[in-house]
Symmetry: C2
Subunit: 423 residues, 2 copies
């Protein structure tokens, strides 16, 4: 008689995978309702923009924070700030969300994909080194799903080669490296605030983003390149270089919606609590899952303290533990047991049509990924490819339903012990 | 004894220039509160994004509408859509908000400024003709402060020279040319929704924008260039060219905040009423002011029906009617009478440091306004310069305070009759 649910047995998980934490809707509503009543929309500098920026700067310990309309534009702004220009190269892990690098394409700079570290999901410093050329301008580090990359090694590489380090922190609000908040170790940290209160970024705002940087010159340049008609904060001085172009600057506006920042200001109060809870949940699950054959949990550097956890928690599948049972089959069986194995699944970018075939964005044969661009092909990044092929993920919870975690672990144990039913 | 308030006389205007129309805050609050309670932020495609787009398309009679995070990005999207590339030229009136053209700078395309029509504030077709070169790709028409440009002539020029016409409709939501809504006559119409309920754009959303176009190819290309992970609307087909890149497309997101569109959907219901009221107010004021010596009201084409009225209503000052009394002095006297003469004052772009000196945006000597760029100088656009020098403006009202308009007219009459006190 079959034991596995996929074969007609009873399910190991009978509890729905529903977040039990209640978002602070009342608080958010009150703040926004007040703004609506007062007709305070764009232009609410002191009470919305500057307050959010000051609070997030204080939270991260960064000197400067600047809010944007999207995470995408926080990266775009960073690329403009570091002086990325057509023909430059940017090293970026292939396993990331495309927006880590897509703004560079519009500037005309070329992505150079690097490997992730085996079992860690973050950029591999040794592989980054191999990909540096005279055209390299920057390394983009992505603390993917909240896992913090080896910032010591990466900063060392950057120093040696005179490169900028852009930290894409869209997944890791509140994460740390060696006691410092992610985003403050590289030259600039970029964040997304996309998404809703539960499944969105750790600091969600609907749509939104921000950069943090300790480099005043970089900050001033980014203001000049992206912020038309932005008033000066108390004590802020205009840089001589940009003074006579003020306030129109370069005429564009990468600006957050004020209500996005209203949401974010409330949500920031709950960030540490949610991170702590999710970290505990992840640790508990990792400890249990690491005892299951064929499940490789994601390992962290000692100096790293994961945070944000966008996209849930990941693990790798090792088919050799199960007579080469394909991951897809294993996963189906786990899901059939009632485990929520949904997660934010990214393509390995070098395996996508865009970066394999290239595209002539401006139609002049001279763009980032056309002309002399040699597209990637499958096999080019073997570690990333095997990681990607074996990746599985599941949600993490601020407050999980009572008993859910134990049932999930039981489901893994059950499928593991009865895998022969799947062969 | 002095009669003018500036010289110690009593003020002609004793009523505060306060809009009496009450914005629909309750309605807006209800919609947004519901979204907050349901945790519907980004991703609320059917109920927010598509509904707004369908409603605005229906309002304008356009085939396609696509919402953006800013008016700036609606223009950026338009430029990407028409295939603007580095080295191209774009003809644009010098008297406009810089964002009409600034996104083109980031693409590497060069603005070529044209004159406005005397007494009309909109692009002069005869002058546009003179500025066409083999590099010209597009004409940007700005229906500034709600005044509609001569679309018949401009479309004819575009046809003859195989150029795109981009209508910057940021000031003129609801305006018409020959019975068609502004934005539907050129190849693409771009709108801003920046600002608050009273002083913002005619369709305000805090921050936001949209494009409309009847050209499906243009629409599909813009979706591909600016909309990552946008689901298809019912009945929408993916273009063959872009199919295999879907849904990541080119990896960037120029996306409106969902709450911006919640606001805009409510405000759209009031657009026609507000436009009708403001149109009547403007007409009443224009009729009275045109009887004042030295005041030249802005004239409209017979086919034009102004709308939106962002930045209020303008007029030109003719110093010769007052023994060459400088405009500034006349204006001071009018203000001293209690008239609100605040208005959205734009620089003539060719007179700004940015377009006179140029700027090397990407630091490679090859940008839009560097390298072989010959900057503009004062005197280059004499009609625009004299228009700009003589421009004055004042608010228009949906519901003006009772008696305010009459007092304003009286103030003009009083200063006009007693101008010798100012000499």
């Amino acid at each position: 008689m079959s034991k596995l649910a996929i074969n007609g047995g009873s399910k190991a998980v009978t509890i729905a995978a529903e977040e039990q934490w209640t978002p602070p809707c009342d608080e958010i509503r009150n703040v926004i309702d007040e703004k609506i009543n007062a007709g305070k929309l764009s232009g609410d500098w002191e009470d919305t923009y500057f307050k959010f920026e000051d609070e997030f700067a204080a939270y991260t310990g960064a000197k400067n924070c600047l809010a944007f309309n999207e995470g995408t534009f926080s990266l775009w702004a960073a690329y403009l700030g570091i002086g990325l220009k057509p023909g430059d190269e940017v090293i970026v892990p292939s396993y990331t969300w495309i927006a880590s690098i897509s703004p560079a394409l519009y500037i005309g700079a070329r992505p150079v994909f690097c490997e992730v570290e085996k079992g860690k999901l973050v950029a591999d410093p040794a592989d980054i080194r191999k990909r540096i050329t005279p055209k390299t301008k920057a390394i983009v580090v992505v603390h993917i799903h909240g896992n913090v990359a080896n910032m010591d090694e990466i900063m060392e590489i950057a120093r040696e080669n005179n490169l900028y380090v852009v930290e894409d922190c869209s997944h890791c609000h509140g994460a740390e490296w060696n006691g410092k908040k992610a985003g403050t170790i590289g030259h600039i940290g970029c964040f997304s605030m996309q998404g809703d209160f539960i499944t969105g970024k750790a600091l969600p705002a609907g749509e939104g983003g921000m950069i943090i940087t300790n480099d005043d010159d970089l900050y001033n340049k980014i203001v000049f390149y992206t912020q038309i008609n932005r008033p000066l904060k108390a004590g802020e001085q205009l840089d001589e270089k940009y003074k006579r172009f003020y306030p129109a600057n370069l005429g564009v506006k990468f600006r957050a919606h004020p209500f996005a920042l209203c949401i974010a200001r409330v949500m920031l109060k709950y960030l540490d609590y949610r991170n702590d809870q999710k970290r505990s949940y992840r640790q508990k699950m990792n400890e249990a899952l690491s005892g299951i054959p064929g499940i490789i949990t994601i390992s962290e550097y000692e100096k790293a303290r994961a945070g944000g956890f966008y996209g849930g928690m990941q693990m790798l599948y090792d088919a050799t533990a199960y007579d080469n049972l394909p991951k897809e089959r294993f996963l189906e069986a786990i899901k059939a047991e009632g485990v929520d194995m949904s997660y934010r699944d990214y393509d390995a970018l070098h395996m996508t049509p865009l970066f394999q075939e290239g595209y002539d964005i401006y139609g002049n044969g001279q763009g980032a990924i056309c002309g002399d661009y040699i597209g990637y092909k499958n096999g080019d990044l073997p570690v990333t490819e095997s990681t990607w092929a074996n990746l599985m993920g599941m949600p993490v919870f601020t407050n999980e339903p009572a008993g859910y975690a134990e049932q999930v672990i039981e489901a893994f144990r059950k499928v593991s012990e009865n895998y022969k039913e799947l062969l």
